[in-house]
Symmetry: C2
Subunit: 369 residues, 2 copies
C-alpha cells in the first residue's frame, strides 16, 4: 500500500503498460489506444486511486476542458433536449459541461456568467434572458461565446473573444407555423405569446403577424402568459370564442392549452386548431399530437461544438452538414442576400434549419402519431 | 490601458473600494457586501477584465467549488426538474454543477465518472444505470457520493470518501400508486415496467406485486417497454382487454400510454384507469391529469446540498425539514425498525417523502387540474 499520492507511473506499472499509453487514455489521444488496453488502464487508475490533475493542466494552459451552457429553464423540454445533445457532443470530444439555469432572472444570469468565468471555461453557450442582453458582459467575455437566441436588433460588436450567433430566426419559426394554420383555411387567429416585456415574445408575435398580414387577414388576438403549462392552461380561458386557430409560442404552453381546452370540453382541432414552435420528441404524444416547428438539437449541438473547439478563424464548413448551402459561419463581412443565414459584421452565424413537424392538432387528420 | 493581467487591486481601485471587499464579492463571503457595492465591484471586474482564478485556488486547496451530477436521461422531465433544483441550490451556495448524461450506457457512465474525477469535483450526485452499479468505482471515489437510486441488495462498503444514499424506496412508491388504484375497486391490474434486465424495473414490479398480494388479488399483466413515451405508447397496444387499471413506472410511459389509448379511442379512466410514479409538474396537464407519486425535488436538492457541503460527520439534521422524523442521515449503525428510512451500516441515508398527487386518470373525478 503506497501512502504517497499515486503517479502516472504507478498506473502504468499496475496496468502493465507504458506511462505514455496511460497519458493517451487520460487525454483521449493523441494516439489511439485499443479498447482492451484502455480498460486495463482505467481499472489501474481506479485501483491506484490516481487522479490525473486536470486542474494543474488548466493552470498551465490558461484554459480548461470545460464549457458552460446557460439556459433560462432546464426543465423546459426543448432546453432539456438541447442540453442533453450538447453534453453528449462535448463528452464525445473529451470535454465536460457546466450548466446554469437563470430562471429568467437577469441578476442571477449575470452571477452565473461571472461564476463560469471564474471557472475559466473555454467557451460559453448562451440561451439567456433577453430583456435586454447584458451586451457589455458578453462582449468582454474572454472565450468563445455562442448565442442561441440573440434577437433581431441586438448587435454584438467584434471583441477579443469570438462571438458566434446561431442563426435561429424565431420570428420566421412563428411565421412558418402560423402560415400552416392559415393554409388550412382558418381566418381568425390568436397567439399565445410569452410575457409582454420579453424580446423573444415580441419576435414570435412579429412572425405570427407577418403570416397574417401576408395572407390579407384581419389582426388576431394576442394573449400574454408565461412560457409554461400553466400559462397555456390560462390562455384556454382567455381565448375569444370566435378564434379558429391558435399559435402557441412554445410546447409547454401548447400542452397547457390542450389541457385547458379538454377541461372546458372543447375539441382540438375541431373547435380550435393549434400549432406551436420549439416542439420536442414529446409533441407526438400530446392529445392530439402537436403540429410544431422543430429544430434538430443534435445538428445544432454538432455545429456549436465545432465552433467552440476550433481555434479562431480555422473553422470552415467542410460541407458535411448534408446540405449544399454556403459555409457554416463566417468571421468577416459577407453579402447578406441569403435570407436563411444572416451574417453580421465581424461575427459568425451558424445556420439552423427549422422544420414543420405535422401532428393532428392543426387539422391534418390523415397523420397518425 | 494596462497590458499586464489585471489584479484584484486594479478592480478595487476601479470600484473605489478595498481589495478585501472585492474578495468578499468573489468568494460569496465571509463578510456580507451591500447590493450597491456588489454591483460596483462586478462592474469593475467586467471593465478591467479581471479573472479571479478559481483554478489556481482549486490547485492550492486540492478541491473545487464544482460538483457533478450524473443522470440517465437529462430529457426525462423528472430528472430535468431534479437537475434544475440541484443547480439552483448549489448556485445559491456559490457552487457550480457539472452534468453528465449516461443515456443508460454503462461504459459511458464509467467514462463520465472518470471525467468528473479528473476535474476534481468535490462531490458527486449519482442517478445512474443500475445494471449493476460499478461499486468498485464508487467505493474508491475520493469525494462525497450521494446515490439517488441505489436499489435494494446493492450495499456500499464504508470507504475513504463519504457515501450517502437517498432513502428513495422505488418499490414503496410503486406500491403506493398501485394500492390507490386498488382502492378504487379495480381488480385486474397491469404494470408498464421498464426493460426486464433493469434492477429499478424489478424494484417497481416488486412494489406493484406487493400491493396486489396484500389485497388478495390475482397476479396481473407485466409489460416490459423502455422508460419513454414511445414505450408507453406501445404498451397501450399490448395491454390485455380485461385489464381495469394500469400502473406506469414513470411519467413518460404514462404520457405515451395516454396517447396510445386516445389513438385507439379508449377512455382513461373509464375504459382503463392509470396511475404512475416519478410524476412532475407536467402531470397536472396530461389529458386526463395524471395521478402519480411525486417527490419534492427542492426538498431533495436541499438535503443533497447539505450533505455535499458539510464536512465529514458534522451534519446533524436541525429539524428544519418541516417534519418530526428522526435525523437527516446517519453515519453509524442504527436500529432499522423505521420503514421510511432504511439505514445501512456505516452509510448515510437521506429520507425522501413520496406523496401521491391525485389527478383524474385514476378515476378520482371530483378533482380538477
Amino acid at each position: 500500500m503506497v501512502t504517497r499520492r499515486p503517479t502516472r507511473d504507478d498506473v502504468a506499472r499496475e496496468a502493465g503498460t507504458s506511462s505514455a499509453v496511460v497519458s493517451y487514455v487520460i487525454n483521449h489521444g493523441p494516439r489511439p489506444v485499443s479498447e482492451q488496453t484502455r480498460r486495463k488502464v482505467l481499472d489501474a487508475i481506479r485501483r491506484t486511486g490516481y487522479v490525473p490533475n486536470n486542474i494543474a493542466k488548466s493552470l498551465a494552459n490558461g484554459t480548461s476542458d470545460t464549457y458552460a451552457l446557460l439556459v433560462t429553464d432546464l426543465a423546459n423540454p426543448f432546453l432539456a433536449q438541447m442540453t442533453k445533445a450538447l453534453e453528449h457532443k462535448l463528452f464525445s470530444l473529451g470535454k465536460t459541461l457546466l450548466v446554469g439555469d437563470s430562471s429568467d432572472d437577469p441578476s442571477r444570469q449575470m452571477e452565473l456568467l461571472e461564476s463560469f468565468q471564474r471557472q475559466q471555461v473555454s467557451g460559453l453557450v448562451w440561451y439567456g434572458v433577453d430583456q435586454p442582453l447584458p451586451m457589455d458582459a458578453l462582449e468582454t467575455y474572454p472565450g468563445t461565446v455562442v448565442m442561441l437566441n440573440q434577437p433581431e436588433g441586438q448587435e454584438l460588436s467584434p471583441s477579443a473573444g469570438r462571438r458566434v450567433r446561431l442563426g435561429l430566426d424565431e420570428s420566421e419559426e412563428a411565421r412558418m407555423a402560423t402560415a400552416h394554420l392559415i393554409g388550412h383555411g382558418y381566418q381568425k387567429l390568436a397567439i399565445i405569446a410569452g410575457p409582454r416585456e420579453r424580446l423573444n415574445s415580441r419576435e414570435r408575435i412579429r412572425g405570427w403577424k407577418r403570416a397574417i398580414r401576408e395572407s390579407g387577414l384581419e389582426p388576431g388576438q394576442e394573449i400574454f402568459v408565461p412560457y409554461t403549462c400553466q400559462g397555456g392552461y390560462e390562455a384556454a380561458e382567455l381565448v375569444d370564442d370566435q378564434v379558429e386557430a391558435v399559435f402557441a409560442s412554445n410546447e409547454l404552453q401548447a400542452m397547457g392549452f390542450l389541457a385547458g381546452m379538454a377541461q372546458r370540453d372543447k375539441k382540438v382541432p375541431d373547435d380550435v386548431a393549434l400549432a406551436a414552435m420549439n416542439g420536442t420528441d414529446q409533441s407526438a404524444y400530446l392529445i392530439p399530437s402537436l403540429t410544431a416547428v422543430q429544430l434538430s438539437e443534435d445538428e445544432i449541438a454538432d455545429k456549436i461544438a465545432k465552433v467552440l473547439l476550433k481555434p479562431d478563424g480555422a473553422y470552415q464548413d467542410t460541407g458535411d452538414d448534408g446540405d449544399d448551402k454556403p459555409g457554416g459561419y463566417e468571421t468577416s463581412v459577407a453579402p447578406t442576400n441569403r435570407s436563411d443565414a444572416p451574417v453580421r459584421t465581424g461575427l459568425g452565424t451558424i445556420p439552423a434549419a427549422p422544420q414543420l413537424v405535422i401532428g393532428r392538432s392543426c387539422g391534418c387528420s390523415q397523420n397518425e402519431v
